[in-house]
Amino acid sequence: MSATIVQPRGSVEIRIGANRIFKSYGSVQANRNVSISVGPRQIHAVVGENGAGKSTLMRALQGLETVDGGEVIVDDLPVRFSGPQQAISEGIGMVHQEFMLAPELTLLENLVLGDEPTRPSFGFLQTVDWDVALGEARQIGERAGISIDWHRSTSTAPVHIQQYVEIFRLLRRGSDVLILDEPTAVLAPQQVEQLFGLLRQLRENGASIIFISHKLQEVEALADHVTIMRKGETVASASVDEMNTSQMTRYIMGENAKAAQQTRGEPGRPKDTGAPLAKITGLNAHTANAQQPLYNISMDVSCGEIVGIAGVAGNGQEELIECLVGLRKAQSGSISINNAELYNAENASFRAHGQGYVSPDRAHEGLAKSATIEANVMAGSQREPAFLRGPMLDRTAFRKEARARLDRLDVQYGTLNDPVSSLSGGNQQKLVFARETARHPKLLVVSQPTRGVDLNGIATIHSYLLSHRETGGSVVLASEELDELMFLCDRILVMSMGRFVGEVSRAEFSPQKIGELMLADPLPQKAANG
């Protein structure tokens, strides 16, 4: 490789860091005495539960937050950022979980947006020189070893390609400090390897990379150094060689480490009743608002099994789940639960036939964020006779049930009248489970159940799903966490481009096998991008 795609700045010890940062929001101490130092040519992992203070630290490093105490360090010297612009000019860039690309523009346009190469025209005007732009783009792609169709519209480009464009955009602007927030969440295992390859290459070129993750195997595989945060403090910082994943877990969890130990029994399926509990046949859905239409989806779910749905994000899992819970209309096919035909029925009908639903989008669908805890945990039960006195709500019974539900899933909360947004991610998701399982549904449709949930919360949710299975309940589980699917499921159905492309039984589970299926192209005549 002749040229580098990173433009490193001199030789320093600490390229970016923080020294004893304090930051509080009201009475919440988000960062307390937090220090970190990231050198050039270093991949530095930052791990911790949700709410440990990672985001606050990253915001401070990007000049998005003024700290109450302590200082941000750039090139060995303390700085006081006047705002994010200054951080950008210091070469600091962040790749967010949700990309900051304009979906209606092409990848090339997104790459150069805000810093377009120009040429004079008519003698006095400056116009964008797209030839130069394309040349630059191809060069960057080549050096990184990735071929990209730069004229593709961003909204149709695969997620991992969008991620590259996001990274390249920062590099093109001269960033040599990259902050990546859980970059692998949206990738298939093979794509993760490809990304890591790029990140290692950038490191060799001199970049400093801050890698936020909660997948400790990835940290071990990629990072040089790890800093662990807990409850707003840095509790450990060490070379990855000196710390194994179980030590990391102990630091992340603190005294609760034991609770996170998980085992999954392998009991035989409880009495197979013969007829499947849920049966989906020949489902086709291609409404205008579907990102990925569904083609001829058929599946059965028996009592006492957990069926996983795997796939690279955006291959129809979301649409399928929505069809399964009555939130999306299909064009043809059949969905039945307990022999009741529910094709294109409303969500309420699915619920009436014994279904519970845990939405993948907790912030916008799973919860009403600004409503109270009580309203969130009781929503949907307001017409049950137990909570009515004549036409009126029996508030006493309502609140009593709300408390019972929250206690059952061990949700930590203040009072029922607090907004649900005052809960941590894990407690929010436990609240969702508390609501969705309150009526003892036979079939739970669960999507991304542990997204943004801390390790303790994950443990509670996993053990709940397993116990549900053991008592004869069924689960359809869609998740982007392959580990989670392999841990929980009896079998996994893999989706690609809106179709089922394969089924893997528990005995055959391996990331390679599932990953290959995830990347399978059900339409071989069409070349895959990237």
Partner: protein, 360 residues
Amino acid sequence: MVDGGSENVVAIDARPPRWTLAAENAMRFSLPVLLAFLAGAVLLLAIGENPVAIYQLMLSEGFGSERRIAATLSASTPLLFTAVATAVCFRSGVFNVGVDGAFVLGGLGAAVIGYALPVALGWTIAPLAIGSAMLIAAFWLWVPGVLLAKLEVDEVVSTLMLNFVALGISGFLVNSVFLSETSGNNTTETIHEVAELSRLLPPSTLHSGFLLGLLCVLGYAFWTQRTPQGFEAALVGFNNRFARSVGISVPGTIILVMIISGLVSGAGGAAHALGQVHKFSDGFSAGYGFTGMAIALLARNSAIGILLGAILFGALASAGTTVQLFSDIPLDIVNVIEGTVMIFAVVELGRLTLWRGTGQ
């Protein structure tokens, strides 16, 4: 958008104590009002008036005696109805701005029944008129409700347009079919005396429609806090995707709140026709629907806020007019104060309160 803030809210024990919430609500209500009066004061100084003296005068014109209090409550009566009718929709995220039109049509219906039915029917005329007005107005708002719920026709546009249609229809009818033969332009016959709503504190025009308005506010409070439908409507307002995903019928809720809004608007129009104007005429509604909207926003849809807001705007209307008798300030000053309250109410200034510290 990156949900960067959520991670910070972790500590359960860091939740603000309840009194700060109450204080925040009080602040959200009073801050726009205070700022508006401040803006008015600047304007008064600019035209060479003493704001303190003028505001003293306004206070005494609004609340200085039993008669002035009665006049204020009288002016606030239609606003109680329109604010509730607006809030019931806003609370569900349905931006119904068509309350004014429904109020006008309800008022026309009630006035016509109030004079056209045989006087021998006696006291039954008033309830018949109110009931009919409620049905007319409920039907009127049911239409955009269905359009929104079933066809996703934007309710702001449809209800705004329907206001013009309602004004056109009522203007046409009162100038033609229902035009009084004995009077000049633009009014119906006067309703039968038996159909009038009784006055509460004669000689003030404060009439029993005010009590009906209070009943609407109470009913609204009860409906929102104590019924499953009210609970569902709130959830739809908080997040309709969420509501739908827990099995609540969002279209059904939208249509329901529009119908309730219509019923309340119609009752308001009827009370205004039978209790205040005793007929229908051009200029029947002095934009009550829009003032009601400002009140609902200011009150953040709370029943107590609606009551206070209606009284505030009622006082501005009554005192703002009679203050002209005893000073040289033009009506424009009061209009500025009203307009400023509305703007600040919409801006949700409460969100900028300092103790929160962060722009979440």
